[in-house]
């Protein structure tokens, strides 16, 4: 074993970049190496389907840290380099070019890759995926006013791109196999709001839609549906979810379920290897059940938490799940857990906004979901998070009443 070997982070995305910076913030002064197969600095991905398409925002605005910062902090970066294998027994990794490097501890922050549709024609030019800055750069010039875009998949990425493309003047059709939008993550009431918004802005949404193939001669020019109908288009965006990058871990013999298995400290089945972000499956702080999240906050908070774990801290990762999505001039936010709630309380807000509160049998808040114009529901969702953390029973009538302030509820709870 080599004591002067670095902590190596595999995957220079959101969680990997955040972990590297956090290790230095936490006082780790030893050697630190961040390896990523993308040519870029670590960056945040949410803008790829939103501001980056809409405003042609410069990629640098998404970066986590600057090149100078990594230099100053003595965080060595290998960009455009792929890790090919891990040898846990000798604590060594092999790079794609055959080079071998020893590690003292290893962090896997390998994220996920956009899933490609397994349909004839998926390899045609113009059938796009969206996960990376390079994907966004390839998609952006295709979204000129008047272009026809077909989005495959009515999940968040698909709907956000649909909204951006529509705002850019494209003709947009969203094809979703299920009977409502973003069904995996959202309650039916919010799916309905999303559908209404997209319809009202001129996006054609087809639910229960089966696709047979992508058609074209070198370049895609139509999507063929199962019933034979042809939808002419210039570009297809496939947004049907991601595949977590777990192969490296699995090949090294680490425990892998729906993600790289980690314990509450984010350590894998190997004592010197940790995992974070979209790639890992960690115990839910509430139920203890393994869960894998694909959200900005999860990458951010796990990146920070694992820095402390790598340096010996014993505490469990306990952040509440939270995410947002922005579409047109609306946003939604979701905090906590919605599944397994005994009761759901609805609060209607002005301007067609909506807050949903999910309570357990003892009327303690488990989760909340909000929908509204701009960031109008952000404050209430933050207060809902604090109410969830309080763990106290709440009066459902007050939750349902738009005139009753969540902040005073929280203060009431705090003083009980």
């Amino acid at each position: 074993m080599n004591h002067s070997a670095p902590i190596i982070i595999v995957g220079a995305g959101h969680a990997g970049g955040r972990a590297a910076l956090a290790l230095r913030e936490q006082g780790y002064a030893g050697p630190l190496l961040l390896i990523g197969d993308e040519p870029h600095l670590p960056y945040e991905r949410p803008a790829l389907s939103k501001q980056l398409l809409l405003d042609s925002q410069p990629a640098a605005a998404c970066h986590i840290g600057s090149a100078e910062q990594y230099l100053t902090l003595a965080i060595e970066r290998l960009a455009g380099v792929r890790v090919a294998a891990i040898q846990p027994q000798s604590r060594r990794i092999r790079l794609h070019d055959g080079r071998e490097l020893d590690y003292q501890q290893l962090l896997l922050a390998t994220g996920g890759r956009a899933r490609q549709a397994s349909l004839p024609g998926a390899d045609l030019a113009g059938v796009q995926l969206l996960r990376t800055l390079d994907d966004a750069a390839a998609l952006r010039p295709r979204l000129q006013a008047g272009q026809r875009l077909v989005v495959v998949g009515g999940g968040f990425i698909g709907l956000e791109v649909a909204a951006s493309a529509r705002q850019l003047g494209c003709a947009v059709t969203v094809l979703e196999a299920g009977d409502r939008l973003a069904a995996r993550a959202l309650p039916p009431l919010i799916s309905a709001k999303l559908l209404a918004l997209h319809h009202s802005r001129g996006v054609e949404v087809r639910l229960g839609c089966q696709i047979a193939a992508f058609r074209g001669d070198g370049s895609v020019n139509a999507v063929e549906l199962a019933d034979g109908e042809l939808l002419a288009c210039d570009t297809v965006l496939v947004g049907i979810g991601i595949q977590p990058n777990t192969e490296l871990a699995a090949a090294a013999g680490l425990a892998v379920g729906n993600g790289i298995r980690v314990d509450a400290r984010l350590r894998t089945s190997d004592a010197h290897i940790y995992a974070v972000g979209d790639a890992c499956e960690f115990p839910c702080p509430v139920s203890g059940q393994p869960q894998r999240l694909e959200t900005w906050r999860n990458a951010e908070e796990q990146g920070r938490h694992v820095a402390r774990s790598l340096l010996g801290a014993a505490d469990a990762y306990a952040a509440l799940p939270w995410f947002w999505s922005d579409q047109f001039d609306h946003s939604l936010q979701l905090a906590g857990q919605l599944q397994a709630a005994a009761n759901c309380v609805t609060r209607a807000l002005p301007d067609d906004g909506l807050l949903l509160f999910y309570l357990d049998a003892a009327e303690r808040l488990q989760g909340a979901c909000g929908w509204g114009a701009g960031n109008s529901i952000a404050r209430d969702i933050k207060l809902a998070e604090l109410l969830i953390r309080s763990g106290k029973p709440l009066p459902t009538a007050a939750l349902a009443d738009p005139a009753s302030s969540l902040k005073s509820l929280l203060k009431g709870v705090a003083s009980v």
């Binding site: 951010e300 952000a378 404050r379």
Partner: protein, 106 residues
Amino acid sequence: MSHWIAACDVDDIEQEDVLRFDHAGRTYAIYRAPDDQFYATAGTCTHEKVHLADGLVMDHIIECPKHNGRFDYRSGKALGAPVCVNLQTYPVKLEAGRVWIALADA
């Protein structure tokens, strides 16, 4: 040099709350602390251009509505990732029931 601009009435903001104020093409956030002191900062987060007035004020902290970036609105200090750049702050005075902020002359 700077000049004073009336941003709002004292009663426009509740205790431990924030109000957006737009002036001359820029946006500001005016705060009323739990101890009834008033403060003013730049109106948008330093992480992305998001209006802080949609965020949550707790004690002397404003939490951004988007990614929970937190600032001490008295000093403008950014309190940790994802925000690392401090907020610009502005002097505030109360006069004739109104809240005034001092803006640098253009």
